[in-house]
Symmetry: C2
Subunit: 890 residues, 2 copies
């Protein structure tokens, strides 16, 4: 016979914590607590399998269920010496839902079940407290009525309000037993009026009604929505917990409370929570009375801590807290009731906490010996580190939301609105904090993005230019805010029905994507010593190296500060936009002869050499991967005719010729156009100049520091082996020349971005001429999905919201498509060159789920924006631990 | 001991035709001819392995070579009763190169080798013809001097010219033995002056000099270029053929000739070729004397056919011709010499021929029983059928080339230049032949393209809009002609240094990509009965079905006429551009509510229903695959502000709102944007309207004809299973509604284009909800390579020219990348649904190499533009035969 019901408490615990899938979180932990000797009122759990059976069989219960429930109910009766439905000494029970994971939206709790017009009298007699009995009864009718019978809860509240008005009082506590009797009468009449039948008096019927309501709530609309959003399968089902009632509302030696074993917002090792004397659970959260603090240490003047008010129960709770933390080795979120000075535990679960608390608790617990360092590393969600590295909005600060976009780069920023990069730079130079607002950004805007405190765009996704650059710079950014209309001409933006002029102040929350009117108060990040401790532990467990995507000395410095072990992607084109250089770049583009291009490139050479020298110096011996020019040339030309005219004049070029050339260079689909190594193949002089700058810088750095850098030169957008052969030959030729001139040689690697499906599919062939592969998963995602990250804003959010795609594939690597190609490339590449170095340098390099994927594939390193380096270090450590854990259990 | 030299003739034939790789084409066939008893002067072949050895060993010959050459030379001497270098009866030989495939650019021939100041006298005495002997000697010095010793050939010609001037004659034939002696003297003096050493007199030295020159020529620049262009590996090497001379220049009973066993331009079964009495081989091609026809039937007045002039030799040649055709079972291209009325064969090989001849010869030979039908089908190059289906330029017509672009759609066209689609339509309506010239075309230009005789664009590749549409319509098209500059404003084009005004005439050759000034005479295609016969045979051997890509009734009719077995791709968006409809389309796009869109779509419904009804009627029971709307909506909006204003007015819409909407819809990379099923998912009402039109049309056609069509509804750009699930559910819902309204049901399929890498990689998942896959290899090529077909013109031609990519991947499917994805999709798709229908509907569906690939993958059908249907039928048959042949030999 299948076991559908598991008992707990009073010396019989059929379940344990590990049986969460069968018993739900609440039921499993009640059994666990009881089994380690904590005071848990006896009860039983109807398993999640009953729920599944129920829905699989036209809402019928298994035949054996009734008998198993009856048997367990009898056991409770025996344990507490009361009988369900007994008119003298009635057993009351609570009925609670409890799924595998906590799920708001499902039926929660019915207390005091078993009361009726007769048992209430027995309860009054047995407790010697008539008011308590009638208060309990009205609470039961109210909860059962609204939760099980679906009577609008306002109808109950109106009746209490009437009662208080009648009596001229304002607090529930001022109502007497007689008053509550009247309220009960009113409740019953109202329920009968609404339902057309009287409130159920039979305890057995009440119990099955409540059980049915729990199972029914599993499929209600809110629960379905929640499951869809959180990817919870419907066939997990919910359990039902039936437990003997204990009462926190039986007098002043009674209380109920909710607390955390440590402070969930700071992580401090102090008992944290709230309790109420003479109350039932819902009173604590209802806000009618003000809950009081647990420990005297946290009591403010006028407050009465439980430590002081109920010292014995409090001391027992402190012991329970210790037992629980030792047993669960994690901070617990618990519910308890004190009935006549006796403590009862009603729930325990791992407590939710802030990022700061998570970090502190993990490090503290490891120091306390509760967990080991590996476990501490696993305890902190890597993504949550963002909160620790960036300013955040003060949670208590008032705010007015204007609109919402994508949370493109974390942190909060506040400043005056400007609509151009030049304006941003000009105002910032005067010390003003500015928010750069653009429809979208382009490489020309970089100086303005750098000058701004935050960036807001109305187009583009999580890997749009604005988002990528902002993350790289550590600037908060809200991208693709479709609800914001920007009008450059009138220098204003419209959002949330309001019009904001240039110069007015707004605040961005890059972690949520929200845009606020005016200035919202912020909290600056403080990096504790715990942070360094945990990162140190993480580094011990990590297998993959973590590098940073960085071009500027500032980025490189930041990256090193955050522990980057080299540069995984230096995008040389970013260096071309500097006002000192762009003229030469444009002159190069405008030349229609190789000679003309070489003249212009010669002007750029010293700049590039200086760029690389600085990076090599900062990275002192660490690997530096330099990607040669990637974007199409038209990206370097201005878009508007006035600007074009200016440029023509400064170059001494003919405007008409310039316009023709610009038109000639324009592309229908720049993402798929004349870029990457296609430029290197057709204009070899560009890559030659860049290679020369790299080698000259490397030789100079080696001379200066005695520590030769190992440049890793990366050719972008290779789709065919010959492209890499040709460009590699150019680079090797330049290396020979420079080394001959310098009379010395430097070790270097030449490899390629793997960012096209064809590169993955022919990786065996390409590997023959590559020293390394770096997966450029941004472009690989674009081509694999046929999805422009600049244009996806029109439908991708909808796709993610509707579950058409499980996640934004630009945020977290798509394992089925993009991931499959990465696996193919790895297999083919390592097949011909087992020790080929493999890394990832797309935005996914900083995403924890993607890092786990990379560990699974066996990549050698991940590279991400400087501010994501700690996130990546931690995620890589967790991925390694989880992979090793898999081995350990094998 | 390795055999480096293979003898032939005079009863000993070491080689045969199959040994082409070792002996070269010429040597293998000389041995083969000798072995079947044809009169071949004895000789020997030095193998291609010697060439390879020579280059692998610092230009040294194998040690055994000298002895083997000597031994074979002795055998020749014995056979012909002459001795090499003998002063009385000297043996003369020819030395010819001969690679595996014929290769212009390599050294060809040295005749009369073995002559020197002494043997010339012996030859004179032995032949009794002093003039012949000295003429032969001067020919030898001239050929050996220019070909082996690299003396400029003009230097020889000058000396002959001087001799003729001295004597006051104008023809070589007027020079006497004494004159030739003087010429020989002049030659020798000149050679000594140029080289600083005398002309080699030693026959042995002459022989090794010639052999060395043949091997040396294998690596000369012209040969290297030719090999690179034709993808011939350098390690194939060339052979050297040394053969006893026979003389066509020994008197009037001697002759030499080159001929084909059938007419290579018509295929007619008639002896076709030219000969010259008293001449050596080079005289036939040199153009100094006019060659005469072989057969009397082809002799014009004043000409003297060989049939008449040398009846005995001619009759023997006729017998040889029959023997050769029976033996080789193909039309042969032969060289012969008649020496004193005796016929000698010097070469045979399969003859090159026109498409028409190829077809006629294949069909005739099958009828004659020389080959079977399968062999006949294999004999005709599918691509060559284009020549038979389109008008072509008269090869004899004079022409002035203006420029050259890509041969985007075959056929020739001639007309006046117009620069806009409207102009094209207006002028065509008046009966004028026009050539539409555009920088590039867009769907708005379709009416003009239809009205034009030919299309010329200056941008875009082989699968640009212009190319695809032109092929679909059967219009000749030259695309991406970068050398042509179009100036819309001044209504002129510049090309080849000339300026052409609108209204002037040009001619296009879509098969070569050439653009000509003025009108060039054309030849209209005549489809012979042989064409139908061969296609009938092809259909017997074909496994894959052939469908057409067609939208209009005209296209569908053409497709059926050419034998299409259904429609594989009906692009419904082409139907939206009709002037009657575009208004409603734009109204739909401008609506910002679903209701507004539905109103506009309701106007389109009757048009779409009519479209489909006509197609179903024409295709009468054959499958019709209809792709729902694919392009991004902005493609339907005009680009220029004036046009936008016009549209706004006609829609009664606000221009500002219209501009905002247009801006809102514009995309950075439309190819990767909001299109395909992404439209269907976000605007379900569009696909619903289209599905309704399809089902209503199907029901109506079934009623009308009693023959229910089976619509195959195709969802474009699916990248995730859920996209197909959602759109399929919409379609099924509409089907149910229409069938309920009509009180009948129609069978239909719902499938998807597989045109994204992710679709291939997740094809197992997608197959679960698809009835068929159609590989959209145009877009799949774009995404796999990360290559926009609209932009690739800037570097793709260079890539193909330099061999970075072996072929234009938009013309012929890339087997390593795109092909690998197709294979993955096939394996995954058939893995979960073994009978899923698989086809291809990209432009590759009409490309013979790609069709061979499709046969290999096991697709069920290919679909191509109507004019490519015969090509596809033939290519599919050949692919099936070659696959079956593979089995047969296994």
């Amino acid at each position: 016979m299948q076991k559908w019901v598991y008992g707990f408490g009073a010396g019989r615990n059929d379940g344990k914590a590990e049986m969460r899938n069968l018993l739900g979180g609440k039921g499993a932990n009640l059994a666990e607590m009881a089994s380690i000797g904590l005071p848990v009122p006896p009860g039983f759990t109807i398993t999640t399998e009953v729920c599944t059976y129920y829905y699989a069989n036209g809402k019928q219960y298994p035949a054996e269920l009734k008998a198993q429930v009856a048997e367990n109910l009898a056991r409770i009766e025996q344990a507490v010496g009361l009988k369900f439905g007994d008119e003298q000494k009635p057993l009351l029970v609570s009925v609670r839902s409890g799924a595998r994971v906590s799920m708001p939206g499902m039926m929660d709790t019915v207390l005091n079940l078993g009361l009726n017009d007769r048992t209430v009298e027995g309860l009054a007699a047995a407790s010697g407290d008539e008011r308590f009995a009638w208060d309990s009864y009205r609470r039961f009718i109210q909860m059962y009525g609204s939760v099980v019978l679906s009577v609008d809860h306002h109808r109950f509240e109106e009746i209490i309000e009437d009662a208080k008005l009648d009596k001229g009082v304002s607090e529930d506590t001022e109502l007497t037993a007689t008053d509550w009797k009247k309220v009960v009468g009113g409740y019953k009449a109202m329920v009968e009026e609404v339902l057309g039948s009287p409130f159920p008096q039979e305890p057995e019927a009440q119990l099955w009604g409540a059980i049915g309501a729990v199972f029914g709530s599993w499929m209600n609309q809110r629960a379905n929505t929640y499951r869809r959003l959180h990817d919870i399968p419907a066939d997990w089902g919910t359990a039902v917990n039936v437990q003997a009632m204990v009462f926190g509302n039986m007098g002043d030696d009674c209380a109920t409370g909710v607390c955390f074993t440590r402070d969930p917002s700071t992580g401090e090792n102090i008992f944290y929570g709230e309790y109420l004397i003479n109350a039932q659970g819902e009173d604590v959260v209802a806000g009618i009375r003000t809950p009081q603090p647990m420990s005297e240490a946290r009591a403010k003047p006028g407050e009465r801590s439980m430590e002081k008010a109920m010292p014995a129960a409090y001391q027992e709770l402190v012991r329970v807290r210790e037992t629980l933390e030792k047993h669960y080795t994690d901070m617990q979120d618990i519910e308890f009731t004190v009935q006549q000075n006796k403590l009862y535990m009603l729930q325990t679960r791992n407590g939710k906490r802030t990022a700061a608390a998570s970090l502190k608790i993990a490090v503290d617990m490891a120091r306390e010996g509760l967990i080991d360092e590996a476990e501490a590393v696993k305890r902190v969600a890597p993504g949550s580190l963002d909160q620790l590295l960036h300013p955040t909005l003060d949670p208590k600060a008032p705010r007015t939301v204007l609109s919402k976009g994508l949370p493109a780069s974390p942190g909060a920023a506040c400043g005056t609105v400007v609509f151009s990069a030049d304006e941003a730079e000009a105002r910032a130079a005067k010390g003003e904090s500015v928010i750069l607002v653009r429809i979208e950004t382009s490489p020309e805007d970089i100086h303005g993005m750098h000058a701004a405190k935050g960036i807001l765009t109305t187009r583009g996704g999580m890997t749009s230019h604005a988002a990528v650059v902002a993350r790289g710079m550590g600037r908060p950014c809200v991208a693709g805010a479709g609800g914001v209309v920007v009008d450059y001409a009138s220098q204003q933006l419209m959002a949330g029905g309001k019009t904001i002029q240039a110069g007015e102040t707004i605040t961005l929350d890059g972690a949520t994507g929200e845009i606020f009117l005016g200035a919202v108060a912020m909290v600056e990040p403080k990096l504790s010593g715990d942070f360094a401790t945990l990162m140190g532990w993480a580094d011990k467990f990590r297998r993959m190296k973590v590098r940073a995507n960085a071009e500027t000395p500032l980025d490189a410095d930041t990256a090193r500060k955050f522990g980057a072990e080299g540069i995984g992607l230096c995008r040389t084109e970013h260096m071309f936009f500097d006002p000192e250089r762009i003229g030469a770049v444009r002159q190069m583009i405008m030349s229609d002869s190789e000679g003309g291009r070489r003249d212009a490139l010669a002007k750029l050479l010293p700049f590039q050499r200086k760029d690389f020298t600085e990076l090599f110096r900062i990275m002192a011996g660490l690997p530096v991967t330099i990607r040669l020019l990637d974007p199409p040339l038209h990206e370097f030309l201005p878009h508007r005719e006035e600007e074009l005219a200016e440029v023509a004049e400064s170059l001494g070029a003919d405007l008409a010729a310039m316009k023709r050339r610009a038109l000639d260079l324009s592309e229908a689909n720049p993402m798929l156009g004349h870029r990457g190594c296609r430029l290197g193949v057709t204009y070899p002089e560009i890559y030659e100049m860049q290679a020369r700058a790299i080698f000259e810088a490397a030789v100079a750095t080696a001379r200066e520091t005695g520590k030769a850098p190992v440049p890793e030169i990366m050719i972008p957008l290779v789709g065919a082996r010959k492209e890499l052969e040709i460009t590699r030959a150019q680079i090797d030729k330049v290396a020979k020349e420079v080394f001959a001139e310098a009379g010395t040689t430097i070790e270097y690697l030449v490899g390629t971005m793997i960012e096209l499906p064809r590169a993955c599919l022919t990786a065996d062939s390409i590997a023959g001429v590559a020293d390394f592969f770096s997966f450029g998963t941004n472009d690989l995602t674009q081509t694999t999905f046929g999805l422009s990250r600049d244009d996806a804003g029109k439908f991708l959010p909808y796709y993610v919201e509707k579950g058409i795609l499980p996640k934004d594939p630009f945020v977290s690597i798509d394992p089925d498509g993009v991931g499959a190609l990465v696996e193919i490339a790895k297999d083919k590449g390592r097949g011909v060159k087992p020790d080929i170095k493999l890394g990832i340098c797309g935005e996914h390099g900083g995403d924890p789920a993607s890092i786990t994927f990379c560990e699974g594939v066996g990549l050698d390193y991940v590279s991400c924006s400087p501010y994501r380096v700690p996130v990546a270090r931690l995620a890589a450590a967790q991925a390694a631990l989880s992979a090793a854990g898999g081995d350990r259990t094998a």
